[in-house]
Symmetry: C2
Subunit: 442 residues, 2 copies
Amino acid sequence: MTEPLTATAMDIARTARIASSKLARLEAQRRTDALNQLAAELEKHASDILQANQTDCQIAAPLVEQGILSAALFKRLKLDEQKLKSVIDGVRQVAALPDPLGSIDLARELDDGLELYRIACPIGVILVIFEARPDALPQIASLLIRSGNAGLLKGGREAKNSNEAMFACIETALETCEFPPGAYKLVPGRHEVSELLKNDKFIDLVIPRGSSELVRQIQESTKIPVLGHAEGICHLYVDEFADLGMALDLAIDAKTSYPAACNSVETLLVHSAMAPSFLPVVVKAYEKAGVEVRIDAADAKKFGIKSFEPTCESDWSTEYSDLIISIKTVDSLAEAIEHINEYGSGHTDAIVTDAKGSYEIFSTEVNSAGVYWNASTRFADGFRYGFGAEVGISTGKLHPRGPVGIDGITTYKYKLVGKGHVVSNYSGAGARTFTHRNLSAD
Amino acid sequence: MTEPLTATAMDIARTARIASSKLARLEAQRRTDALNQLAAELEKHASDILQANQTDCQIAAPLVEQGILSAALFKRLKLDEQKLKSVIDGVRQVAALPDPLGSIDLARELDDGLELYRIACPIGVILVIFEARPDALPQIASLLIRSGNAGLLKGGREAKNSNEAMFACIETALETCEFPPGAYKLVPGRHEVSELLKNDKFIDLVIPRGSSELVRQIQESTKIPVLGHAEGICHLYVDEFADLGMALDLAIDAKTSYPAACNSVETLLVHSAMAPSFLPVVVKAYEKAGVEVRIDAADAKKFGIKSFEPTCESDWSTEYSDLIISIKTVDSLAEAIEHINEYGSGHTDAIVTDAKGSYEIFSTEVNSAGVYWNASTRFADGFRYGFGAEVGISTGKLHPRGPVGIDGITTYKYKLVGKGHVVSNYSGAGARTFTHRNLSAD
């Protein structure tokens, strides 16, 4: 059975690649129309979608009882009228976002009649792999449509019927707006995914949306660039010059407002000068909020902390994704920065301080995508940043970095316009020289 | 012997990582001073450097005679007073380039007192691997210094003495300007390089400068992002509406002005309507320039071409890097675009046409880093683009793409400045809403 399946994956990818160059040429209005059409189709077929979702849930329910599926996953799988409505609103919001393509960020005359432009364009073909949330499919599809990228979409198999019902709406909308065929495709199974992950000729980017486990597994198994983060090990550092009331509020919010989120704090670093006054208070507040505190036994004794688990080396590199926090005292700002750069995942790290100097050192020396001053790490999110929609959060160092909006799934190309210019005129005797004069863009 | 060597590679990388956060905080003037100091040191020690290079050449000379080293490599290895002077000029030019760090390209109020900034910053630690050109070392080091990145530098072993002499100048210059120790290091051997390539915790980017073979080998052996291109398969497409004189000039320049360059053309695509008038002329001109022509036998017969090699499938994906060209006739612009997107390497592709419409379709549908209209592909180069200096050319789709200047080896981070803002205030009853008001960036 391997042969035909492989052929299918290759065919899907090749068709998407060919369609992607046509997509790149669709005017902005056509992409907007397709998004509005998609919203209309989803509305029109709401009852079919909800029914398909019910089928998925009926299949999943016994698996939850047998302990094969988690209750949390089952909850995410369930789609109701309200949730579907907010998905449809989301598609319309993406339709209303400014178009990311075609903007010129460099325009330069190289010589008389020879002009260089750097222009925003789609990346090409993006493979998106997500877990069992059926609302992810129309969300992701709309981001891809807005940005002119072709997309191969693999949903969680628990949401199979829901995804198929929603994808039918996508197909109708795109057909209505005469999109190139094959630009978007549901990838049927896992086997096809692993074939696609090998195909760096036709696929330009992989976006896994799901557990750290999923992301790590994909990162290990492909040469294609992966946009995402396997880990969110975020820190809050309470500086020597912190306002303790503020530090307390931030410590609670950053840990407890949504512990499973990647932008939640895992480790609280406290300057030793603040520890005597701050630690007993924050630990008490954590206890009250049901947070398990892990701290060095000697520190616990020193600061009269009774209820705790002792920390060990592995705590500093663990994303608990749960109501657990590790606490460490440090003797200096430098020690805090070194700890973060050593154990952090480059996601988001915050300092609480009234000293601008401390913030400046912290924000320059901590090499994370987000460096915050007196604010909760939980703000690290595309919606909160005002990007309108979020593709994911990248902990890589290169672009796109941090929360990734639509702009993050575009790239650029250089267009050079000449009148028959050849390079041989720019060397040797009587060589022409470049003017390198910046033009006003557009 | 494996253990201590491995430890050394880890130590070098860890030290560079720690130094890189200090580097990120050095003000622009200090980095400028270090570059000017480096130029002065190279001048001061010119005779030592030339002598070290002579030693390298003496060691290499018999290897050339024995056919172990190529004559081309030997020529690149040789450093004379003139070449060294131009290297030193290059360092001073980089010193004079505008500083790429600290610029703000997004400034946005998220809510009252909560402000988001996106700021250019160094990437971190960059491993650069180059072949036996000793002039590459000070060039690359100066780009890294200008951009605030730490650097691990592995030169070709044939240039060992030259590199050590020049690296001594780098060390003195950086010490004089009180740079953090260990920010730049010569990597001693191949074993250390393979250890470093495994170390994606401490190294953020790898830049191979050398043969396609070197680049491919590195791409296969690391999870760290690699900036570069294994292949430069560039195309020139002579459209139905081309000016034939211009097409001829471009075809000759793009192939013959430097056939070993990655931005030279490998395949000439000719619209079948132009073939009868253009093919005999261009083939004759190629013959005169010593270029071997490969073309389909039937086409050759049709257009009266006598001296040629017949093409086979592998020609379309071969970078000859030599005075060889493959020629293909196509029946439409669409067929040309499809050929380029299928066989090209995404480097640079050009169309010759008088029809703006053809150019617009070509430049939007060809998904290469450079899409040119009536200009030679040989312009794809950081210096010619006016970037002042070039790190390399990337055929990846993500940023940095195409010729990469200093800006391309910076990234950005998000700084969020609050007054104790927590996310829990932005949900539930009485939730605050984000203002998302753009601020004027500094």
